[in-house]
Symmetry: C2
Amino acid sequence: MSATRIEVWSLDGIPEITAGDDLGSLIAGAAEGLTDGDVVVVSSKIVSKAEGRIVAALDREDAITSETVRVVATRARPNGGVTRIVENRLGLVQAAAGVDASNVPDGYVLLLPENPDRSAGELRAALRERLGVTVGVVITDTLGRPWRTGQVDAAIGASGLRVVDDLRGTLDAGGRPLDVTLPAVADEIASAADLVKGKSASRPVAIVRGLAHLLDDAAPGARSLVRVGDEDMFRTGSDEAYAEGYRDGFQEGQSESARDEP
Amino acid sequence: MSATRIEVWSLDGIPEITAGDDLGSLIAGAAEGLTDGDVVVVSSKIVSKAEGRIVAALDREDAITSETVRVVATRARPNGGVTRIVENRLGLVQAAAGVDASNVPDGYVLLLPENPDRSAGELRAALRERLGVTVGVVITDTLGRPWRTGQVDAAIGASGLRVVDDLRGTLDAGGRPLDVTLPAVADEIASAADLVKGKSASRPVAIVRGLAHLLDDAAPGARSLVRVGDEDMFRTGSDEAYAEGYRDGFQEGQSESARDEP
């Protein structure tokens, strides 16, 4: 049921993408030998560009503000700016709301695809139509992590494959239930692909071969990887939550004192 | 400088590991064709077992308590238990402090290796000695993520390779600095390897071929991936930070009211 060998490679020959480009055709043309069960991993940057998500923005900070649904935490930067960790429209908690100013002309920023799961589905359909193959598609972005330095690529869109490999109920070799039961395989695929795509090289598409067992037409998209509601134990930064508690506690302390006065 | 293709496969023939086993010999015996520049990725579970980190524990919860350096967040579970997100001795923020009760006999738990970076270095030296090859070694564990469901494998020990590929100063195709500049490649390697190791199958060792450019004798270990001090904006859960703020604010509110009294 599980893979014991995968190959991961990035595609040559994906040109610079601009609004209106037919990404499905371009990938189909570059992905020689693409076969049933492969997973096609695409940097969200080129999906955004093809979908015309590049917008004029005098100020990147303004663009971040308008993409922000909820501020999670902020931190002053040594250079005088402010790092903002925010939840964006896609439910992703990211620095800068996923607004990207690299690889675009001055005065413009690149927003994330409007609906990366839908974009992944469209790419999958295009590859099936053009090449007659059934593949999974993962659309990636780069995410920081609270307790670890650096960033890793993760899945922000997916179609045609399980994003989580549900092992609940699986037993270990000794017949005991496995402690850890929900590998986020779409994120692991995104991370594996980043190792061959790189950031500066213009290699935004990778193929992962060997994971056909994860393909599933009916699987939910990458949006299902977003932890919501009560499950989110870190919905605000520690400083922000402390300050909110302090404000509420201070008020309550004052009014309790007032009630106690004779 | 960067890879465009990698292969990742898990090794056959790693037996059930017990305390005192010579992991270097066992991996050397199973890793036919291991070559300079390969990265050997090993689940911490078997490193722990070889190092005798299995301990009797009447109660897993007690074991978690004794491995805990700092409680980050807690949450009641529907079954009456409590999920504890804690920082352990290695600086890792994990559920259950990395204490593992699966794949061990009843009445025992498995602790993480005492010093996974050192363990990685020893394995690397053993593989050099036995096979004459220079490889990187990554020791992995499975980590949850605050804002995303499921878990991914990450590097808790490393030797002989860069754990972060520092791209600061790198320019994009248009000559602008890259926004995202510190890919945590050791974590991405751990995640890629998890796709072929699996959790229930007894395949705890994988080889990643194609990343020789990341090998570096002088690179720091995986401990350097732990975000420390002020950089950690999520050192406690939102509820915990709110409660602490509330307590402090309440006291201050009361005493300010007292000072205001005539």
